[in-house]
């Protein structure tokens, strides 16, 4: 057996052997390649294509026009001309419209009451009613926005007529009144789309999840066939184990550095995601992310006994991670224990930091908290990974010993049996 003293002189050569072996493990396993290629390339493109329309266009809405006057027809026409909505059908009463809604033919409907125009002509406020399904917030939002716009446009149109109801002496004052304008500005998401908001975070989570899977499959496979025990030849001291852990991590960090260029550099341009960050800043942020993810993945191998088992656990966390990153639901509103989970999974601060840097054009000091979090994670998980490797290596050799003994006993028994027969 090689003692740790012997290995010292060949530090680099040992490392390169481990690195080359790990590359070979990946290259020779079709299922790991499937996760890497399928996960990183196909999945990233697929997700982008799914969200590519980005905005809700021409959502079907119904109209109940009880008065059928020129004004109500104009109202319906204007709804139809908004980009968000299209008038799919007209209905004669509420129950009919409700039925169409249940069959998903329309997402909601606008009711224009029979006295809609007469009320205006009599100087009484006229009310239109929007009944909207809430089963999809984006549809609801589209209906709310578009109908509000139409209402404001109709008001603008009608206002000059309404002045006649004001006493003549006051008319001039009102006509000359200068309005206070209210103007909202959406920041960082110029298309105002859903995909352009969600996908940058999803890209980070895909990188995270697939790296977790690839490492789990490689090490899980080695635990299953006990070949992880071979690492014992490099020694079990911290110096030696840390070398193994670092070499393995390096393999995945290099691979994922390349994947990241594709995912974070190329994909956003290809699909028109917000991409205003400085590449150097993103690199600075990705370094602790890839390291902490690799070490985190290695730490998790304490739970694995084979190659497939890890997927059961890893896949489970995909959806939760989107939430924990604070992108889709504000962290401020979550209970404290989920805020805490934000600090356990490197993907959570990474997604937030990436969105800040690349979608919002933030500078490095603005993502200081996230970067520090990831470096702390990298250091903590590095040490944990070393401990886990040591345990796993010893466990594998122990199992190998027991299984070897069992096999030997079996063959001994067989021999005895043969002898007896003879």
């Amino acid at each position: 057996m090689i003692t740790s003293n012997d290995t010292k002189g060949r530090w680099w050569s040992k490392m390169s052997t481990i690195i080359i072996n790990e590359f070979l493990t990946i290259a020779s396993s079709g299922s790991t390649l499937l996760v890497l290629v399928g996960g990183v390339f196909i999945y990233a493109v697929l997700y982008n294509l799914m969200y590519q329309p980005n905005l809700v266009h021409d959502a079907p809405i119904g109209i109940i026009d009880e008065s059928n006057t020129s004004l109500t027809r104009e109202y319906a026409r204007m709804i139809n001309s908004t980009s968000e909505l299209r008038v799919a059908n007209y209905y004669s009463d509420i129950s009919q419209a409700h039925k169409a809604m249940d069959k998903n033919e329309i997402m909601g409907f606008v009711l224009l009451p029979s006295d809609f125009e007469t009320r205006i002509n009599e100087d009484i406020n006229s009310v239109a009613l929007l009944y909207a399904n809430t089963d999809n917030f984006l549809y609801f939002d589209a209906m709310q926005k578009a109908t509000s716009e139409v209402m404001m446009a109709i008001n603008e149109q009608k206002r000059p007529e309404m002045i006649t109801f004001i006493p003549e002496k006051d008319q001039e004052i009102l006509v000359n009144m200068q309005p206070i304008n209210v103007v909202g500005h959406a920041m960082y998401n110029p298309t105002m789309g859903y995909g352009t908001y969600l996908l940058p975070a999803v890209l980070i989570i895909i990188l995270f999840q697939t790296m977790l899977m690839a490492i789990a499959m490689s090490i899980g496979g080695k635990i299953f066939d006990r070949s992880l025990g071979d690492f014992q030849q490099y020694g079990l001291g911290f110096n030696n184990i840390s070398r193994v852990v670092l070499s393995n991590a390096l393999v995945y960090c290099v691979l994922y550095a390349i994947f990241s260029i594709f995912m974070l550099g190329f994909i956003p341009d290809l699909f028109g995601l917000p991409h205003i960050g400085n590449g150097k800043n993103v690199l600075f942020m990705m370094t602790p992310f890839l390291l902490s993810t690799a070490f985190f993945a290695m730490t998790l191998t304490i739970f694995y006994t084979d190659k497939e088992e890890p997927l059961l656990i890893i896949t489970f966390f995909s959806i939760g991670l989107i939430f924990l990153s604070g992108i889709s639901y504000p962290l401020e509103l979550m209970p404290w224990y989920w805020k805490g989970a934000h600090y356990i999974f490197p993907a959570a601060p990474a997604a937030l930091a990436f969105v800040k840097l690349d979608c919002m054009g933030a500078s490095l000091p603005d993502v200081r908290a996230e970067i520090i979090t990831m470096w702390v994670q990298a250091i903590v998980y590095f040490f944990l990974a070393c401990i886990v490797y040591r345990i796993n290596i010893k466990k594998c050799n122990h199992l190998r010993f027991i299984e070897g003994k069992a096999k030997a006993d079996m063959s001994l028994e067989d021999e005895n049996k043969t002898l007896e027969v003879l």
Partner: protein, 394 residues
């Protein structure tokens, strides 16, 4: 009368599976612990589910009693809370970049003077839209509250000139719009997402556990012994194997519905047991779907990656967040391949519209089809198991 208890292959398989389940922790972790964790996660992550007290900033360049009254009006909105004042826009902009605030309102210089002198002026507000769900919520709140502010000079003028308020209101707003959100009028996130997202996560686990338990027989070389225990009947072998998991899943389904509709009080019209029946049917259909995928390609290393991707796609293709109708047609049609599509459709009909299941008989029938198809594929699957072609595919 039987003297010797007859050997029942179904019971034998069942007992064999129970032994397997308890031999390694992964089965109970994935089939029981993680679903329970997911129920807890989805029931608590949104807290109250209402977006309230979101931090925003103010840039008050006017600093007069009028501007302060604008701030007071903004503060009165429950959605936002003013946490910071900034001297200029750059500072506020920077705070948004650091995500310290989600939006800010700018009150321009000479605001009071302009309002009093009847000069045109503008209140700008900036909201974070890289975080669309939060940004959208804040946009709605600020738009409403600032428009109230914008209308105030009219009210003041009306007062000054003794014009009846009603007439001035009708002048400013000849028509108005009443919005009725059906089922979830407050747009509560817990009501919207907790239950569907739990089932999306749950179906991923159901797929993976089903695949792992059946695939394990092929992978670990125990398939022939498994079939022998079932007296060579693949149907019994599968039925006995899946029964324990199905029972766990069914119990979890009922428990989760109880948590969502009972404990955290998500409103529902319709019947609690009707919702449970649909959910149970969905879980069984998901098991069927997994068997179909595995029977087509019985190499576990590959099919487990494929199934984990298909399961995750369910999150998008259920259409709960980004609507299917807004996607490219290809993806809308692709979603018809996944059981979760039909489940979402049925549950939403029942929950949101309180309608009976008859409306959704087609979707229900298709969920049954997912359970039937594996039965047809059993002979083919049996052959591929005996062929040992897939045993060592890595």
């Amino acid at each position: 009368m039987p003297i010797k208890p007859a050997h029942n292959p179904y019971i034998a398989i069942l007992l064999r599976e129970l032994k397997r389940i308890t031999a390694r922790p992964i089965y109970l972790i994935a089939a029981l612990l993680l679903p329970l964790f997911a129920i807890f996660f989805m029931a608590t992550i949104f807290n109250t589910g209402n977006m309230e007290d979101l931090p925003i900033g103010i840039v008050d360049m006017d600093n007069t009693s009028t501007s302060r009254s604008v701030i007071r009006t903004v503060t009165s909105t429950p959605t936002v809370t003013v946490t910071q004042h900034y001297a200029n826009q750059q500072e506020a902009h920077h705070a948004v970049q650091r995500k310290e605030i989600y939006a800010y309102v700018v009150i321009p210089d000479k605001f009071e003077q302009k309002v009093n002198n009847n000069q045109s002026t503008t209140l700008d507000y900036y909201y974070h839209y890289a975080l669309l769900s939060v940004g959208g919520e804040i946009e709605g709140a600020l738009e409403t509250v600032l428009n109230t502010v914008a209308a105030s000079p009219y009210a003041a003028t009306a007062m000054a000139h003794a014009i009846p308020t009603e007439e001035i209101t009708n002048f400013v707003l000849p028509t108005s719009l009443q919005i009725h959100g059906i089922y979830n009028p407050d747009l509560n996130y817990a009501v919207y997402l907790s239950q569907p997202l739990f089932f999306i996560i749950f179906q991923i686990l159901v797929m993976l556990v089903t695949l792992y338990s059946v695939g394990g027989e092929v992978k670990f070389g125990t398939a022939e012994e498994w079939l022998a225990t079932a007296d060579g009947s693949m149907t019994i072998a599968l039925a006995g194997k899946l029964t324990p998991y199905s029972i766990i899943f069914v119990l979890l389904t009922i428990f989760s519905n109880y948590v969502f509709f009972g404990l955290i009080e998500i409103p529902y019209s319709g019947n609690f047991w009707q919702i449970n029946l649909i959910s149970i049917l969905f879980i069984l259909a998901t098991q069927g779907f997994t068997l179909i995928v595995f029977m087509v390609f019985p190499a576990m290393s590959y099919s487990i990656s494929i199934i984990s991707m298909l399961g995750s796609l369910g999150a998008t293709l259920s259409g709960v967040t980004f609507p299917l109708g807004a996607m490219y047609k290809f993806f809308e049609y692709a979603s018809y391949l996944l059981p979760v599509h039909y489940f979402t459709e049925i549950v939403q009909t029942v929950l949101y519209n309180g309608y009976s299941l008859i409306f959704e008989w087609k979707s229900i029938a298709i969920l049954f089809v997912y359970i039937m198809i594996p039965l047809i594929m059993i002979p083919r699957f049996k052959k591929s198991v005996y062929s040992h072609k897939y045993d060592n595919l890595e």
